[in-house]
Symmetry: C5
């Protein structure tokens, strides 16, 4: 499924009546995984149906249900009913083009995030929706294979981690943090591509550079659209009192907020570097053109007058009919003098080019760009 097609399909959801859960017909069927734990016990299982959920909903310290794939409207509605979730939030879960945001409902938070993944050599985003309650965390993914939560699962399986003894909001924080930290490898990769392009542009600029810069710009726009609203959304959680987020977790969210700003910072820096590279590339094109034109101009300017002189003495005026007709042709030193004149003209022109700095440019380089 091509990128543009996907965008079109998922967008069609937006203009249905608000508050109804209508799934994308092409969405993959959901897979449900449950982690139910307290500091001593851990139950990890794949659910086939939601009966289990209904019965065990309040039996654990923390219950994490991860739904991967949004192809089953009934299932999602059922989960909504079990955990008493607002219809609008459920609708946002299946509309996979949401902006990252945090909505505060009675008794739970609804958080939308965007995870990055690579699709046909381009960066793309997958929606991750979180419902954070007192003792549960529900996560919904679009169903694209792979996610950035594996390290969390690993840590949950160990007994003594902070995650196991923490509450649902700490688990939620860990998920958000994993998503945000998942941006860094992509940014690094972009940074490396920028550095490669920089070298190329400065040493041997070629056409592909433009495409490279454009691709980087687009990827940066995508990442910015994923992280910028997230930053704004986390911000109120740091300040206001919310029933779900405990003060202990808030300290950690501040850390997560710092990482968001760091991502935004890097994106902006890369964008500016990209623009700067584009400028350099354009100036290198002009430089190349100048160089080409100089060669052309020098060759033309040197040889055209010479060719003219040769042309003059190639004229067929009849020297026999009149002594005024090209007496040079019959002169004893006619030819050598003619060649000498030609050589002189060429020499003068070369000297002219030299003074203009067109050949053997002598310039002082910008030596030191070191520190103070």
């Amino acid at each position: 499924m091509s990128r543009s097609k996907k965008a079109r399909k998922t967008n069609t959801h937006v203009w249905t009546a608000a508050g109804t859960v209508t799934v994308d017909p092409g969405a993959p069927p959901p897979v449900m995984d449950v982690f139910a734990f307290d500091s001593e016990e851990l139950v990890e299982k794949r659910l086939e149906n939601i009966q289990w959920l209904q019965h065990h909903k309040d039996k654990y310290h923390v219950l994490w249900v991860n739904v991967d794939g949004l192809g089953d409207a009934g299932l999602i509605s059922d989960i909504g009913r079990i955990f008493n979730l607002h219809k609008l939030a459920l609708e946002d879960v299946v509309q996979v083009n949401q902006r990252p945001k945090v909505d505060i409902y009675d008794g739970y938070l609804f958080i939308t995030l965007r995870m990055l993944y690579t699709h046909e050599g381009r960066v793309d985003t997958e929606q991750l929706s979180l419902f954070v309650g007192k003792n549960f965390l529900l996560t919904f993914q679009e169903g694209i294979p792979g996610d950035c939560l594996e390290s969390i699962r690993e840590r949950l399986r160990k007994v003594s981690t902070r995650l196991r003894s923490g509450s649902a909001d700490f688990l939620a924080y860990s998920v958000i943090d994993a998503v945000v930290d998942g941006y860094f490898p992509f940014l690094e990769h972009l940074g490396e591509r920028l550095e490669t392009l920089e070298n190329e542009v400065l040493l041997q600029p070629c056409k592909e550079v433009v495409r490279g810069i454009h691709d980087i710009k687009r990827d940066l726009l995508l990442i910015r659209r994923a992280v910028w609203p997230l930053r704004e959304a986390i911000n109120p959680l740091l300040r206001e009192e919310t029933p779900v987020i405990t003060p202990e977790t808030r300290v950690f969210l501040r850390d997560c907020y710092d990482h968001c700003i760091q991502v935004v910072d890097l994106v902006e820096t890369y964008r500016e570097l990209g623009s700067s590279l584009m400028d350099i590339y354009l100036s290198s094109l002009s430089n190349k053109m100048n160089e080409v034109m100089k060669v052309l101009t020098m060759i033309t300017t040197i040889f055209v007058p010479l060719t003219f002189i040769a042309g003059v003495y190639g004229m067929n005026f009849n020297t026999e009919k009149s002594p005024l007709n090209m007496p040079e042709l019959n002169a004893h030193y006619g030819y050598p003098i003619c060649l000498l004149v030609m050589a002189l003209i060429a020499a003068v022109e070369l000297w002219f080019f030299y003074t203009r700095g067109w050949i053997f440019e002598k310039r002082e380089k910008v030596h030191s760009h070191g520190g103070p």
Copy 2:
């Protein structure tokens, strides 16, 4: 009626005395449609005069009057009198170049929106004004055929929808939501045009690209002018206490607000992509020019010296008058050596071009732009 003419006409209203309802002489005559309903009953009828309104004004749970066409000043003033509306608001209804806004009056809200439609291949906007009271909703359209409210009418005709059991403010929300969601297909279309242009620019740039980018830019400006103030206008409704908007509807308006931001986001992203495409196009022009100039320079540089040599030996210096006059012409190997020299010069120049990378450029491509 051409676009610019229309703009001029509608603008003329602005500088009449504030608070007077003076309709545009070219505005179409109004058509009034009424939906009066509660959760059990629905009356849907086209009104010929406003007598009916006067009598049934307070008899229904919700009364929705849709006026399509603003050509009758008397009618609009009469409606204003029946529902006790402020003159300034009525004036804004007939001045069809309003910025989207929300004005809070005693007992009702006055909301101005802009719907998008396509006019001669260009995106244009139609003004939609709403008066939202406790039990009534008045909507005024400019009278351009077609609107984005059909889905709402469909849902009203069904008995069991939330819309039927909801109050006037929920209906108003549904109208606003329909308008905002109506922006997405246009944005999608713009996104597709951008993608087409992107392919064209990267593969085979041509003149039409500039016009295409300019058109997209103008359409984006129009959409931004429609949605940006709307976002600002909805914002206070989410926070402040207004007598008309119930807390239940407020949750839904928050969703609508999110969609507005999403539109703004997309508009900004598309604008940046458009600028980036323009940059690429300009660089492709320079590249093309470079290519053309290289061909010119190579041809000139190779043949002009050769032509000069040919010109020299085409001179008519009399070899009989002096042994110094072009003895080459009478030499046994004169012609072959001359040709050889020419071939040598050409070879040297080709080698020069090769070292400069003008022919058979060998460059390393920017291979991987995939993820990390």
Copy 3:
């Protein structure tokens, strides 16, 4: 008086001691017009001296004194004394390069506005200062013939208008509104010029376009400088309690504020369109250059090699001295073969240009830019 000179002169006031009324020696002598009215009576007269003012100051419901021309320091000081105005405000009246602003003094408001007018084909601004008290309105104009207040005078002369029964603050609002609405025809005119330039740039770009865009930009800067601070200045009047502005008038001022924002919006839109046009113009220059260069390159590339061949066979190597010397010249088919070779070379080159798309470019156009 040229524009730049005017700027210089008026500026010189700024660095006199604050609080002194020193008029510009070139300022026209003032003309005083009075409208004194309540809902029944209207006195309209031209004042020769200020005695009348002193005696009738408090005798009318509303007293409007319009002073056109700032050439008489004594008169202005006298008016200031009669109405008890602050020296700094009077000083601002005669310094005709004020930014629009609203200053709140005890018992009255001091408002500075800028009216637009056309001066030698350029947009220029005239300062309009207002003092709004409980029962008086003083307006000071620079004295440039014509203003945008004629419609207000007309409405005052009619008995039954809201203006006649309103208080001084409503009259002041009407003046402000008339000034702001007076911006729209100028913006419209700029919009039309932009549209004309757009057509020109897309169809047949010429040098004058640059000048046109620059002129529009400058006019937009001027309008923005006139309306942007006004918007900021009106804003506090909408919210804070001021003794002069009544709540009824405040609703109307909100409307006026909306118009200011609309002007700012249009100015920004036009600026962006102007920049976009400049981009298109520059790209059209590059395109033109490319076209010219292609013609040059094709002609040169085709004929230079042919001319070289002709040059070769124009050499005078003596065929009688050696059989190696240009035996082609004596060959039976020498000339026809030579012509054939030339034709072949030309054909190959034309084919080369065709494959590069330099002649008969076949491209797919960007067809539909219509809606979704």
Copy 4:
């Protein structure tokens, strides 16, 4: 002392320990002038040492000490001790690269301003530091000859001025106002230079324009750096209660604040005009190039084919060896027909250029840019 050197020297102060007064070794020795006055009496004298200060400190209604030159650390420390000033403020006095700011200390305000002056044809700034107490004003200048306070001194010498009867804070306001008003002549001068450049760019663009625009840009950056922080710094004085600034003076400071904004406005306007001029200049370069290239292309395109034909008939194929060898040379009408063909080719090409609009461009001008 060159500009860059000066910058370096003064900067070195910044990284000494905070709170120590270390003067620049190259700073000129200080000259102290005292104005001590109340509404009746005025003492104006040049101080040789600070004994006088110590004794007369509290004996006058207002005491203004102006120190011109910062070359004496001891003196400045002594003054600080006499008036009980904070070390950090004194340190800022001698570090002459401060941003304009207002610091509120116990019992006095510390204000830093930057005065403009012209240095080797460039605008430069001189630091002016003010200490404003209940009954004293201390001003410190860098010691560059001339300042913008002469008009204040003149007014002080007159008995009846507001300045003489005012308190120290009014005197301080007058100094600030004089500094801000001192920016206008510089801005005017920049405005005139811009207008000159504008005419030049539109009529006959030359290389110097670039330098001119760059110089203006740099000067504007300097002025903006001087006035922007000042605006921010004055702002709190207008609102908050400070013990030193009396409400009467606050009204005047508001006026001063307005002037600051006016300066900022002008700077921004000029910057945008400068950018616009640069765009015009660049487009004029492209236009010129286009024009040059057209001439080149036309000449080449017309003469190269003709020269080729001449070259063909200059070939030496032996007409006697074969009837196929250039029979045209022996034809009766050979030469005239050849010339005719050449003329025809030239005519066709000229016609081609004419249709392309390369010669005798007929275009409609952008006539009216007047108002509506």
Copy 5:
């Protein structure tokens, strides 16, 4: 270790579980230096292990521990335990790509700064983390040789300095101030490089300029990323009550805040100057091209027609076969007239170039850019 590699390595920390101290394997081993002092006594020693710390932690008025090198996770954890520091803060210490920030914890502040240093001719940053408690200051550096704290150490060693008698927060302020003041030499250096580039661009622009501007831009981005967040972070310390920062130190921090703004100001100014230089460079490229093209066009335009004429009279039409065939060749004045015609053509063309201003451009220079 190359710059890009370093960036990659340090980033890898970010996506470990929050709150764990995992050091970079390539980080240098730590070196611990202690300054323990009150106004009378000073203990300065290099610690081998942390036993000493544990015992002497609360025995001094102020205890400053500087850890240079982050290669020992255990040590850092131990210090954290001794001083009771939060795990998240310790984690931030070893992740050396933190944004500057101030985090307020119970009983201490955690501050992250970035020091500048030069690495292979490029500006780079080193992280400096501070823990400020009632009576201790812990500083952690990455371990890059050299820092900007030497002057603080010097002052500590002297008995009578304010630093010795001050508390831990004043010491912390001094460190922050030293870091911020350490930016100025780098900015100065950049300013000088800009001035050099400016001269080069205006006098004799060459290719290296582009690279120079790009390098400056990148350095400025780096400095801005170091100082911008610091400014934001210090701001709340100036206003809010924090238990660690005393009011006396707050006055000094305000000074430090001013310096931050000064750095930001300079960075912005330099960025604008850099952009302006790039514009000038690009326009100089166009100018150069224009100049080159003029030479080419003039030479071509003058000689191509002349060469054509020479070519015509080089044709071999047989004058004997027909009197119409080139009778000029046999005319008595044929050759001189031909040369005369050629000279005339050349003269006309030169005159044409002169009128177009291509040779001997007479222009009025932009003379005065001095002040008013």
